[in-house]
């Protein structure tokens, strides 16, 4: 199988003063390249920790994690930064655009950190056109609607041709109509470019549009549900 994500026995322990909080208790699963997966679970289930770990924002306490052929679990901070830059595109609930920069400037950011100098602007423009914002290049975030801002964020996520897109409640701050548009945009990008899409959500309607749901409960995979193929290990 062509696995883009291979997680084996992931655990994560947070030290909260004297107590150890176990956010992940040995989670193992794989995600195939080009798959659309949603991660669900009630709050406190380890959903955010899972997203941070899969997005290489944080290291697991133990276990193995292969992302697109690279062993992430033991990397240094700077190596992780490089992996995030090349392999992961983030879409956040609250867009997280820099208000000082124009739309195209925001989309350019990952390319800047990739050390790219030539063709940066062109690639950023191409990404913006792909999300349907070809006519809003030089607008700043506050001149754009919520849906348009999230489109800019999506463009920023795909500009570096990542292996996976991590979307954390991508429609959470949008009304249902605009949310649907963003979902369609993400699903289309998956279809057209074959980019693996991982959506963290608690909205069953969103989860229903994905090929597979990974459910978490108390830091472990919840295998009692069988939805869209269920959370097969």
């Amino acid at each position: 199988m062509d696995w883009v994500i291979e997680a084996r026995d992931l655990t994560k322990i947070y030290k909260m003063g004297e107590f150890d909080v176990q956010a992940l208790r040995g989670v193992s699963f794989t995600i195939t390249r080009g798959e659309v997966v949603s991660i669900m679970g009630p709050s406190g289930s380890g959903k955010s920790t899972m997203m941070n770990t899969l997005g290489c924002l944080d290291r697991p306490t133990s276990g193995e994690y292969m992302l697109d052929g690279e062993a992430v679990a033991t990397m240094t901070d700077d190596q992780l930064a490089s992996v995030r830059n090349r392999k992961v595109g983030f879409v956040f609930q609250s867009f997280n655009l820099l208000s000082r920069l124009t739309a195209v400037g925001n989309v350019e950011l990952p390319l800047r950190y990739a050390g790219l100098v030539e063709g940066r602007r062109d690639r950023a423009k191409a990404a913006l056109e792909m999300v349907g914002l070809g006519d809003r290049m030089t607008h700043r975030p506050y001149e754009l609607s919520g849906g348009q801002q999230q489109r800019v964020a999506v463009a920023r996520a795909i500009v570096n041709d990542p292996a996976i897109i991590m979307a954390d409640e991508p429609t959470g701050n949008l009304d249902s109509k605009v949310g649907k548009e963003i979902m369609n945009l993400l699903l289309n990008l998956n279809k057209e470019r074959g980019t693996t899409l991982i959506i963290v959500t608690h909205d069953p309607l969103i989860a229903a549009q994905t090929q597979r749901v990974i459910r978490l409960r108390d830091g472990e995979l919840d295998l009692t549900y069988e939805e869209n193929g269920g959370s097969k290990p």
């Binding site: 924002l57 944080d58 901070d77 930064a81 995030r84 950190y113």
Partner: protein, 419 residues
Amino acid sequence: MSFAQALLEAIESLNGNKMRSGLTVLGIVIGVAAVIAMLAVGNGAQESITGSISSIGTNLLFVFRGGPEQGGGGPPGRGGSGNNDRPLTLGDAEAIADPFAAPSVAAVAPAIQGNGVITYAGENTSTTISGVTAAYSSVRNMELAEGEFINEEHINGRMSVVILGPETADAIFGYHDGIVGETVRIEGQPFRIIGVLVAKGGGAFGSEDDAAYIPFTTAQARLIKRGSLDQVDVIFVQATTAETVTSASDEISNILRQRHRTPVGEDDFTVFTQQDFLQTFESITGVLTIFLGGIAGISLLVGGIGIMNIMLVSVTERTREIGLRKALGARKKDILLQFLTESSLLSLLGGIIGILFGWLIAFVVGKVAAATGNNFTPIVGTDAILLSTSFSAIIGLFFGIYPASRAANLEPVEALRHE
């Protein structure tokens, strides 16, 4: 990310918060401007003083009554009375003038000095009255705008003649041309003006332009009473060349020790060379410059702390932005570079504005000094400029490092969660 990009981003970021950036820069501006202006004033003062001392003549020596211990430094002569020191006399001056005992001495000019009021047609002014000999004009490099200087005839005849400085003449006549031949009254006694000096500007010992010179004998007998008829206040000595000043000083000391019968080390007179004055004043102005520079440096330090403060606020404010940048692939050194560039840019900007501002202050001080008739020009040295720019850049870096490293070491997960 390249440095040019970091620079662009820093400009963007500082531009986005103009008011705050401006106020932060202000601290450095004031500090650098203070350093530049203070050093300029200090240097200017030094130049002005050493310049006026040099204008006295490099081969001039002063002999005062009173030993170095009692009299202290500087020109103590008049303050050294009231003890057992023997006063200097005309005889001392003549002995010093002996070419065999003191081959390094070219000319000797004893003088007594006092204050007096000069009146002419209802106008009056108070000035320094010096009783001098004929050699005085050559020893002190005096130039006459008109008339002639006091000669032997005037001395021997105890004649009532006077040479006026141009300022003194201005004070009572309102002008200083064509007054030779007029008669003024000094302390009520009539004196005929026989010469007027060329204006020289301010000197280290008050303006030489505001003075009156009369024959030594006349002063002794009628104006400036001293204990004995041949007592003098100060003896000006001209060495043959600038190189023989030291040997002249030794020769004078030996002669006076013999005449005053004082053992070595218990001199009751002081020989001062122009070099001594220079050294004294240079050390005074040196201390002054360091003192002023130190105060200015402290304000620069305070400015640096202001930068650190603002950068810390900025880092806290932009925690989320830092988290996002890290999520997008920024490494530690990218963030570090970004914030260091911002703080350095702030201080560099402050440095440049401060230099211009300090220059302006120095210029205005110079103009004010010129307008009030002081011969004083502040000097903005390249050393001051280099010192303050490098100091402010270092301050920007130093006080930027802590906030920047705090930003660089933020955990991306924590930073992204920050509200």
